[in-house]
């Protein structure tokens, strides 16, 4: 074998090892969390962990339902608030923005993605929580799902905006020309041709945003109140549920981990397993959607 050939095959092995290392790290992390969570799964039971509505480690009560509901609702709120703006942003950048405005808006969206989450949390604590407290509603203290949803909406905006911009941009120009030639206005073309063609790309942008939302920790701890309670409308109309305090799955771990021992600590690892599975589901959904998108684009 020549010297060149030897370098080639050596490099191939090195790169293979690098690839396997990331796989190994994910596997080891999963196995470790699962192993630490086993005592909780055994002693409390998977079903009681997932469906129990009481979390009182001092009383040996470990129910994750309030936190699952909290994470779910805050993510829903963030998507409802953030999606219209993020999608509008993506459409604007891909379709209608003049070059120089795009040159300003795009870097600022990228900057938004780079701001550390604790800064968003601080902003929420100092500005949003007192503002939300202004709503005259029984039980409203400012801390809660609404403040958290607004913070999270801003945090997922860059992800959804930039991924959907790419998806819209990848719609072939012939589609646009065809629609305009048939007499559509600009907006009709975007609404009836471009957006449907970019649909699966936009969906995967949303799912990626969901993944970021579910995993956010520190900003949530700062504004959501961290109360262990099932979110409820507190006797008012249903949307009032967003003024309720709650706790997220990530917050449950971060708030209590430093002091937890024994079964309590294991139950927090079990919280981690639930998060792990949730993120895995969200990521596979995103992958599936993106694969379909790539296939559709070529066809």
């Amino acid at each position: 074998m020549t010297r060149k050939g030897a370098v080639e095959s050596a490099m191939r092995t090195v790169l293979l090892c690098a690839g396997l290392a990331s796989l190994l790290i994910v596997a080891m992390t999963g196995i470790f969390i699962l192993r630490e969570a086993m005592p909780a799964f055994r002693e409390v039971g998977v079903w009681r962990l997932l469906s129990g509505s009481e979390w009182r480690p001092g009383q040996e009560l470990y129910g994750l339902l309030p936190m699952i509901a909290g994470s779910g609702l805050v993510t829903l709120g963030a998507v409802c608030l953030g999606l219209p703006i993020a999608l509008g942003c993506g459409i604007f950048l891909a379709e209608t923005a003049p070059g120089w405005i795009r040159g300003v808006v795009k870097p600022s969206i990228e900057l938004l993605a780079g701001i550390p989450s604790v800064v968003y949390g601080l902003f929420g604590l100092v500005v949003l929580v007192p503002a939300v407290r202004g709503f005259d509603y029984p039980g409203n203290a400012g801390f809660g799902l609404l403040s958290a949803s607004i913070v999270l909406a801003v945090m997922i905006l860059p992800t959804i905006a930039s991924v959907s911009e790419v998806a819209i941009r990848s719609v072939p120009d012939e589609y646009r020309k065809g629609a305009l030639a048939l007499g559509s206005t600009r907006w009709e073309m975007i609404r009836t041709v471009v957006l449907p063609a970019a649909r699966s790309g936009i969906l995967s942008a949303v799912v990626l945003g969901l993944g970021r939302a579910v995993g956010e920790t520190i900003a949530m701890i700062m504004v959501i109140g961290n109360s262990v309670m099932m979110p409820s409308a507190m006797g008012g109309p249903l949307p009032g549920i967003f003024l309720s305090r709650a706790r997220t799955l990530t917050g449950n771990i971060a708030v209590e981990m430093s002091y937890a021992t024994g079964l309590h600590s294991s139950a927090l690892f079990a919280t981690g397993v639930v998060l792990f599975v949730l993120i895995m589901l969200v990521n596979s959904a995103a992958r599936a959607l993106m694969a379909r998108n790539a296939g559709g684009g070529r066809g």
Binding site: G139, S227, V255
Partner: protein, 268 residues
Amino acid sequence: MNSSVMYAAAVILSTCGAVSAEGITVAGSTTVQPLAEKLALAYETVAPGVTVEISGGGSSVGVTSAGNGSADIGTCSREVTQAEFERFPDLEALCIARDGIAIIVGPDVPVTNLSKSQVRDIFAGDITDWSEVGGPSEPILLVSREEGSGTRAAFENIVLADAALISGAAVLQPSNGAIVTTVATTPYSIGYVSFGYLDGSVTALSINGVAATVENALAARYPIVRPLLMLTDGEPSPAVRGWLDFIMSPAGQSIVESEGYLSVGPVE
């Protein structure tokens, strides 16, 4: 380059030597941690060659580390529970200081005094409106520490007498500092913190008519006071004994007082 390697090796070797000669490891309560650090610093100047290494983890970690020997001293900012003594029967607890827990309210609350049972009913969620304790007709917002915190455990033990539970509706904040900030900025809120964290931004309530001051706590008039403990597994080693003796000496107790805690012996 060679000489710098030699130098690094020498530094590493000499540090190892010092640690193995007179090293004391401490783990546990984050309330005791800053005080222990001051006490360690002062002791290291009077007893050269001794190094004290302090880490946090919380009161439960303190009990466990002392019990299983992973630290020479475990610190704890609440009473050791019966269950913990059953698990580690050789634990010896030394009360090095005491700490008052103040009930604090934000600037909008005109109430200045509560009875201990009113505080209990408020935190248990039985009293939910300030009008029930002489304030305006506004709902009470509870602010509490998280499960596992020594301050919370001491509060539950002393005020709720372990019979009631802190209401699930309470806003939870993971540190004393965050509790003060939240109470100071949230109208009609109430929380509890260690005396050491009181500042002008919040009002500390009188309990049963007794103001939350160090003097009242020292005179055993203020009712919400907890011990700060140093735990060892059986008889401490001479090195550890030396430090504990220093802490209980007038010099050590003066440091306790200057840090805002209640001394348990004569001061200088």
